[in-house]
């Protein structure tokens, strides 16, 4: 499948909108095991990213990714700003000057992004962070490259998000709670799950809307 510049722009617009809808859900999860602002910070950052994308109207996906990265680095804060900023910086390096990218390049971009998350956040799979979702998503894509099983990706990602619930956090502010962090889904994993949900819809033109607010709370 091909993923073009307009689809990327739609992806950011819809992700910003979905984050706004799920803001209180993300805040509520973060309240239980962190400091309660993940939804607010993500919604604010992607709103600015979307505005800057409209204003600057970049003509290739790499530049568009860079615009988003810079907006996130300057407007999100916390751990999410550098981590989501890193994702888009890495995507920008793979999608440089491209008007459209194919499956293989998408996979490459996501693998780069995942490694960027590891370098910046120094987390491992199973630490109850967004990396749990990125690891699951990229390894699914890697073993299914060229098969267009993108809607199955949504199922896999949804499961990966819900699996964070029972884990004890080893990174991020939730780690300070120790065993008390078990029982709540990791908010960063939920926002990353939402990332893939919206991505699949932008790529595919269809795909379900996941009711995160009823699943994760």
């Amino acid at each position: 499948m091909e993923f073009g510049l307009n689809q990327f722009k739609e992806f950011i617009t819809e992700y910003a909108q979905r984050l706004e809808e799920l803001k209180s859900t993300l805040n509520e999860l973060d309240n239980r095991i962190g400091d309660g602002d993940h939804g607010t910070n993500m919604a604010r950052g992607f709103q600015v990213a979307n505005q800057q994308l409209q204003a600057k109207n970049p003509t290739d996906i790499g530049t568009a990714c860079n615009t988003v990265a810079m907006a996130l680095l300057g407007n999100v804060g916390g751990a999410s700003g550098p981590l989501y900023g890193t994702i888009f910086m890495k995507l920008a390096s793979v999608f440089k000057e491209k008007l459209s990218v194919d499956d293989e390049m998408l996979l490459n971009g996501f693998l780069f992004a995942k490694n960027g998350i590891i370098e910046r956040g120094k987390a491992q799979y199973g630490d109850k962070t967004m990396l749990d979702v990125w690891e699951t998503a990229t390894s699914f894509l890697q073993s299914n490259v060229g098969t267009n099983r993108y809607r199955d990706l949504m199922t896999v990602v949804q499961e990966a998000v819900l699996e964070t619930r029972d884990r004890v956090a080893k990174k991020g502010r939730a780690a300070y709670l120790g065993p008390r962090s078990a029982g709540t889904c990791d908010p960063g994993s939920v926002s990353s799950g939402l990332f893939f949900e919206v991505f699949v819809r932008a790529l595919d033109g269809e795909g379900a809307i996941i009711r995160w607010e009823t699943l994760v709370l």
Binding site: N31, G77, G78, G81, R173
Partner: protein
Amino acid sequence: MKKLVNELDQYVTEMLNGLVSANPSLRRVEGTQVLVRRELSAKVGLVSGGGSGHEPAHAGFVGTGMLDGAVSGEVFTSPTPDQVYAAINEVNQGKGVLLIIKNYTGDVMNFEMAADMARAEGIDVAQVIVADDVAVENSTYTIGRRGIAGTVFVHKIAGAAAEAGLSLQEVHRIAQKVTENVRSMGMALTPCTVPANGKPSFDLEEQEVEIGIGIHGEPGIERTSLQSANATAEFLFGKIVNDLPLTSGDEVAIMVNGMGATPLSELFIVNHHVADLTSEKKLKVHKTLIGEFMTSLEMAGFSLSVLKLDEELKKFLDAPTSAPAWPR
């Protein structure tokens, strides 16, 4: 939620404006949430910061003999790398800049990204990460301990060392020595409410307290029933001295830090017993600081910090500073 606010998205901006208006020695770097000394001198620059909501930290500690610049993020949210970079760039006088960072994932990542940006511009940047909270066990979790009120001792002592004209390497060594010798632990009687969230970060029953609370309204390590001031002080002090190698005759500095809504009288009541506890351990209290240094919005409760001193640390702790929030 009942708060004295206007538009919530102007919370930090208006707070900083008010602070600068009251303190002509401070200046806001245009277009940023960075406050710096109005007059910078040719010495190693010191930058600290973090989320807002900890006032007077960190901007209240900007002044001669303490910080050169403070970066304020949104409430309880680390400032972004561009803001931290703006602070580094502004205070750099060619002698290098030391970053004093509290050990939180977000703070460390954003400050390190800013340090990378500054180094790429040829600015010499060193950093010290403060992790003084003994409530968090070091061994189980790879992330390490949190940085809380003990950070203010790092501001003070490293600030005095920089003011004395020491090199970046020396200021860094001294800052590191403070972090190695300071321990803290806090507790909360009531939670706090992040303005943008509108509701308290956790619920406590009338007779419940959170022990080992952080400074962001995050829950502590355990919830217990309310004890007397003496018993509470004794518990926190016990945890601290268990972790800090002290022998009789050692000199220490004590900080009893209010979390935002604790009357000074209660902080004095706590210190009344801390004084007994230190003398039982035959520690010599060189200096006691009581008041609000590193708060958590309107949370009620306190944190206790103990800093083990030597001659070098004592000299810099006692040196003068003009920072508005350091007690005269």
